[in-house]
């Protein structure tokens, strides 16, 4: 199980790097998906190796996948709106509310 947890940790760190360094908002959303997947690997690994009595962890992971899909739909719609209003989707275009 340690290998699966380590893989998830590395994947999460890579996603974190992406979220911190991307300028493109779609790139940030893609990095977020990587982090969701890391969390899902953890859920499923714990489900198999620690609490195999039932599939609660897998159930949770399915709901995470679904919520991530809904998040991607709304997030990309917001990206489209950004593009329409600012003619660009980089995060430094959208600095109106920055103090």
């Amino acid at each position: 199980m340690l290998f699966y947890l380590s893989l998830a940790a590395v994947l999460f760190a890579v996603g974190l790097f992406g979220v911190l360094t991307r300028r493109n908002t779609i790139g940030i959303l893609m990095s977020l998906e990587l982090m969701f997947n890391a969390a899902n690997i953890n859920f499923v690994a714990f489900n198999k190796y620690v609490w195999a009595d039932g599939l609660i962890g897998q159930m949770f992971a399915v709901f995470i996948v679904v919520v991530a899909a809904a998040e991607a739909v709304v997030g990309l719609a917001i990206v489209l709106l950004l593009y329409r209003n600012w003619q660009g989707i980089d995060t430094d275009h959208v600095s109106v509310m920055k103090w």
Binding site: V66, A69, A70, A72, V73, L76, A77, L80
Partner: protein
């Protein structure tokens, strides 16, 4: 787990066949590129601009509705497996589930989002 060996073999065979074909054509063909060969193929016309064009916005609504109903279909699979045991109860639950989502497609339809304007 061993039944997934077939999937693995398929993946490697797929990758291998494509790589083999590229390698073979690379070895057999004469290499003589010039400008007219390298421009994008556009039915023998001179191409205008690059092939990296922007899609039209109206495709997006359809992609979005597709994603929502794709998620719904994923929930249909386990439901179909247990439907025989649970019977009417499961049917009512799924009718509620699809009924709620039906409001969404109804909304999109009424708002004219499905129209190809």
């Amino acid at each position: 787990m061993t039944e997934y060996l077939a999937v693995l073999i398929f993946i490697f065979a797929g990758i291998g066949i494509v790589l083999f074909t590229f390698l073979l054509s690379r070895l057999l063909r004469p290499i003589n590129p010039y400008h007219e060969k390298n421009i994008n193929y556009e039915c023998a016309e001179n191409p205008i601009g690059t092939s990296w064009v922007k899609f039209n916005n109206r495709f997006y609504i359809f992609a979005l509705i597709f994603v929502i109903f794709d998620v719904e279909v994923v929930f249909l699979f386990p439901w179909a497996v247990v439907f025989g045991q649970l019977g009417l109860y499961a049917l009512v639950e799924m009718v509620i589930f699809i009924g709620i989502l039906f409001f969404g497609i109804f909304y999109a339809w009424r708002k004219g989002a499905l129209k190809w304007v």
